[in-house]
């Protein structure tokens, strides 16, 4: 279990790299609440480890997702020896989500069929690692990276699952004369609604923040995206969210090596930036302006309700905390 994302009606989508599939779990957790519980839990890794009969150095929190209906927090936790647990935090109480008790559907993450498969050429088996997952408008969007060829895949899978999956090869002109395209893997993505259109806002490992009109992502085609911000090397995006603060919508991104970044949606919408030229000198960032929210080492982040976010953070003294924070303070 690598990635979690909620769909409608309490359906939880789970990206499972080991089994190369996406699961849709009917959690039945549909009792509606307006507000999520405020939380300030420290030693959260110790608490999770105790709940799993192990020690903190044997577990890792893979992903966190809030059920938008019940505001309960779901956690995918992996153990050193390869087991997984899906847990729910109801207020401050941890409970297991037992897969046997819920109904689910699964769709396999197949490799896109090679055009020359009929010739009987050997197709190397790849392990696709699910890097991000999101439900949007009747489709499950998945980004992944391979453990063999250097490449990435982005798929759009209609839900309820059928045999149909659309694969788009999303490539971008990097910021140098538009001459080269990369096969960089998408690390994290979200959907931005700008005017009447939906855009994929994707962040890569080597050049982040690229916009693609979502309807243009057609099966099997290479798509050129518009690079709207270059946020510096040595950094990798972790999570993305949208918050509403004082009537305005903002994009939030957490990172491995930089504080939380905040960019207003209307700046993205009106930006005419298309970085196709190299950075002058050694300036580290270009394109859209962002505000650094003073929160570092935020490992997981999601909206809790209309006024709060919930996040997991490693503090400077090594504590792992799970906290909620009003969006007005972000």
């Amino acid at each position: 279990m690598d990635q979690l994302a909620f769909g409608p009606d309490g359906i939880l989508f789970i990206g499972d790299t080991k089994k190369a599939q996406i699961l849709a779990l009917e959690t039945g957790d549909v009792e509606s609440r307006d507000k999520g519980s405020e939380l300030n839990l420290s030693g959260f890794d110790d608490q999770l480890a105790a709940a799993l009969g192990t020690s903190a150095d044997n577990i890792e929190i893979r992903d966190l997702a809030v059920n938008p209906i019940s505001k309960n927090i779901y956690l995918a936790v992996a153990t050193l020896d390869g087991n997984y647990a899906l847990l729910r935090l109801r207020g401050e109480k941890l409970e297991p989500v037992l897969m046997e008790n819920v109904s689910y559907a699964a769709t396999a993450l197949e490799n896109p069929v090679a055009a020359d498969a009929e010739d009987g050429r050997g197709r190397p088996l790849r392990q696709w690692s699910v890097s991000d997952l999101m439900y949007h408008d009747g489709r499950v969007l998945v980004s992944g990276l391979s453990n063999k060829e250097f490449g990435s895949t982005f798929r759009s899978i209609p839900f309820p699952f059928s045999k149909e999956q659309e694969y788009a090869s999303l490539e971008i002109y990097h910021a140098a004369h538009g001459q080269y395209e990369t096969h960089a893997p998408i690390k994290a993505f979200t959907v931005a609604r700008i005017g009447e259109m939906d855009y994929l806002l994707a962040s890569y490992t080597c050049t982040p923040l690229v916009l693609f009109p979502l309807h243009e992502l057609k099966d099997g085609e290479h798509r050129k995206g518009r690079t709207v911000a270059e946020l510096g090397s040595g950094n990798s995006p972790l999570d993305m969210a949208w918050i509403d603060k004082e009537g305005k919508r903002y994009f939030i991104m957490s990172n491995t090596n930089r504080p939380l970044m905040r960019i207003p949606l209307d700046a993205i919408a009106t930006s005419t930036t298309d970085l196709t030229e190299p950075v002058e000198g050694f300036a580290e960032t270009r394109g859209l302006d962002y505000v650094s929210v003073p929160m570092v080492h935020v490992l997981q982040l999601d909206n809790l309700d209309s006024e709060k976010v919930v996040y997991l953070q490693r503090t400077s003294d090594g504590d792992l905390v799970l906290r909620t924070r009003p969006t007005q303070w972000m």
């Binding site: 790299t17 080991k18 608490q47 105790a50 709940a51 799993l52 009969g53 192990t54 020690s55 577990i59 893979r62 992996a78 153990t79 050193l80 020896d81 390869g82 087991n83 997984y84 647990a85 941890l94 409970e95 297991p96 037992l98 010739d119 009987g120 050429r121 050997g122 197709r123 190397p124 088996l125 392990q127 890097s131 990276l145 453990n147 063999k148 060829e149 250097f150 490539e171 990097h174 910021a175 140098a176 004369h177 001459q179 080269y180 395209e181 990369t182 096969h183 960089a184 690390k187 490992t205 080597c206 050049t207 050129k224 270059e230 510096g232 090397s233 040595g234 990798s236 950075v279 270009r286």
Partner: protein, 359 residues
Amino acid sequence: MQLFISRKTKAYLVFFYMGILCACNSTTEGPAKVHYENGSAVAVDWPGGDPVSAPEVFRSGNLEQPVLGHWVKTNGGIRFRPIVPLTPGLDFVLRTVDGDNHAFSVPDTADRQHPEVLGVYPSGDSLPENLLKMYLRFSVPMQHIGNPIEHLRVRDESAGQEVPVFLKLERALWNEDQTRLTLWLDPGRIKTGLIPNETSGMPLQAGHRYTMVIDTGLRSSTGQNLKSVFVKKWFTKESDRIKPNPANWKIQTPPSGSLDPLVIDLGEPLDVVLSVESLQIHSLENGPLQGKWRIHKGEEQVSFEPATPWKKGGYNIYVNPVLEDLAGNTPLRLFDAPIPSVKSTAPDKPVHNPAFTIR
């Protein structure tokens, strides 16, 4: 004078002593029994009781957060199944509804192997400046959590400093059974013109010597540390900007009727995994052949041993265009090259499939 203490008295004395000892602690060793399946502590059995008013199980040291799981009725009692198996080497407490604590532990099994590094690929000691990836092979399944990059150090000996060369991903790229790790050198720094390349330069510098050290902090999936530190040294030569070309491979054909290997000299080291997975031998008459591929000579040579003796006739080696050299160049494209933004009307030039004949 001999003090005669009857056995019965001794027994009472022992019990009395134990009673005092136990009264000082709030926990006693109790009848909780760990149940194993396939070597994992998957359940805890408790005599008597019922699943409805069942005990709770805790890690000793945290009596606030119970271990999550559920109880079922068994013959003679009840059984607790935690949602993941209990970790060996740890102590637990079972607390009944009456508040009595009973300690138990899951013993560490002595018989666990320390993992070893079987090899680091490319195995050669001269690597191109635009090397794209490395693979690490281990003797047993390795840790499913944590980032192995934290246990690797690469030192540029010529510059006299440690350098970050690998791309740190949120989740490490392991193969299906957790024995092979794929590491990418930061492609953002390899691709010309990208901002990381402009600001930080390529991860490796031609003309420099490097040492990579894998430390013993790396753990197997059962928690055993790497047996010993592993060191690889290499010299970085100029970038490889030539696509691998199957037309240049040298093929040594075995005689018909034999099970001898077909040997292919590739002319350069190729990706250790893709080099065999991208190749398939087809006989012109009978289609694809079953057999075993092997890699030799620092990944510069591959061989194929057929499952059944070679028949006379013509054959093709089908090459899947995902085949990569050490810089990620494939037979069809250079790693660092433009992809046509406009679909050309001419069909893609296919990959050359070398042909050979068995006589």
